[in-house]
Amino acid sequence: MSRGSAPPLAWGCLQLLLGAGLAAFSEFVPALLFLASAAPVLVLAAWNRARPAGGEPRLLPAISVPVVVLAVGAALAALGLTAGLWLSLVGAEVALFGAVWLGRELSEERGRAP
């Protein structure tokens, strides 16, 4: 087993155990919450096992402006939920622009990978 997966797997199992304990005290909804929360950690452990980290160097740009644009756009879109539809639309446009730009940046990187 990829060694890196062991701690998240162990931790996820502890979560399932504790969740079972809660279910035994018949707090069913909180127990469900508990079991659901173990999912991201277990999924990560499984994914890491399925796709072990390669050793090859990766190409990375020094800066990535599209990520910033995407993040700020998403934030504005979220704020538009209270400020008004106009802000959500502006934010979504900015985020979309950022996402497309990011996609191009990523494919350029893959194209230039050694």
Binding site: R3, G4, S5, A6, P7, P8, A10, W11, L14, Q15, L18, G19, G21, L22, F25, S26, E27, V29, P30, L33, F34, S37, A38, P40, V41, L44, N48, P52, A53, P57, L60, P61, A62, I63, S64, V65, V67, V68, L70, A71, V72, A74, A75, L76, A78, L79, L81, T82, A83, L102
Partner: protein, 534 residues
Amino acid sequence: MDGSASVALPAERAVGWLASTDHKRTAAKIAVASLFFFGLSGLLALAMRAELAQPGLQLVSDRSYDELFTMHGSGMIYLFLTPAALGLGLYLVPLQVGAAEVAAPRLALGGFWLYLCGGLAMYLGFLTDSGAGSDTWTATIPLSSSTHSPGVGMDLWVIGVALATLGSLLIALTILLTIVRLRAPGMTMLRLPVFSWTMLVTTFMVLASFPVLIVAMGLLLAERHLGGVFAGSTGSIAYQHLFWFYGHPVVYVMFFPFVGAVAEVVATFSRKRFFGYRALVVSLLLFTALSMAVWGHHMFATGAVQNQYFSLTSHLLAVPAGIEYLDLIATMVGGAILFRTPMLFALGFICQFLIGGLTGIVVASPPLDYHVNGSFFIVAHFHYTLFAGSLFGLLAGVHYWFPKATGAMLREGIGKLSFWLLAIGANLTFFPMFLLGFDGMPRRVPDYAPRLGDLNLLSSIGAGVIALGVLAFLANVCVSLRRRVPAGDDPWGAQTLEWATGSPPPRHNFDSLPPIASYAPLLDRREAREGAPA
């Protein structure tokens, strides 16, 4: 830094900082932003203590006071201590595991910007008609519904909290991926440095609990705009379950990285490797798993949760906590202890966090919690853990790793002064609160019974001393950066890989790595060179 930085245009330099994929720069941005929010939220606390210095309402209105304590607590938790903990990990983990970069650097960069936008949105509430969020950092239903707390300011708080939490979640994910996937050859999981282990278990808690808060905030926003989400008493209780499921683990997110920093500092300044590593690893896994199972203790007084289960799990936290204390002290036993500023802050953490932790066991008992919950006793408890504990741990880490990150040493004299001011200030401010709460002072009140005036005055004076301590720290940083004393690669004679490269490290972190055979590779190398000590 490469030479091109000095001839770049100011605009290029700005973009180079704001959009850098370098985990060290992203972490630096997090440090600056979290310090900014610490300052804002700290000023709010000073305003609160100024009001509370005497009985009666002198300085602020009831309404303003509600905004003060809400934004103080929210700012400190969502915008300062949580991001600072993750930012410390973002800076150090790739260096500690011998990686050239964090895994998914763009995710970390995006996370920072989401966090910053969220924080600014929350504080923007002060400029709205309805004012900033004013329903405590927990925003309990039904108080936080649009019936009782209408207005844009509260909405901005809800969305801001969700954004800041999402940003923190993304940063934590990159740290987790780095540890799991990018360790240098030879660094097995059981050779991971202590600080990186504490970061690893922190990221587990983040991954498990932060999404729940984001969902809770989304549902709260829907409740405020559409209604009918959290209906009736089951709705209010359900909200509390969702909130505290995040609300408890987050306080451990604001603890573990700093106990990790303290562990590194104690080991280095005792000139010994950390004691009881395997026991620590087991206790970290158990402690953080258990910390996900205690949240109901915030709801003992509602009568709506299984008190016995949550009391049991809450009491059990004492076991791994005790092991960690044993290991910290045993690391010092047999050592050759140096009392430099980082070590002072680490010792302050050890002694002061203990008070917070022991009072935590008190409130793990429902009959005892029934009296002290919702009072200043609890306020004292969590300020001992978070301020006198975690913040001191953060300062231990900052004073320890500042030379590595900047290439300059911090001044010892001012450092020690700031330590004593903060230690005296913290105890003067928060210890009286135990007595005040026990004697019947509820929390979240701008006014109180006249008999409680003397202790409140003492506490407010303490807050002033804390402010002086903070100023001393900031002065230390400014002076040390202006008139630099070069640090070199390893000014402390430390043990872990981040000290095996330049100060500050180059963009790619390492030119070469020493052999890795334990969690203290540099200590191994030193011992091999000097021959085994007598």
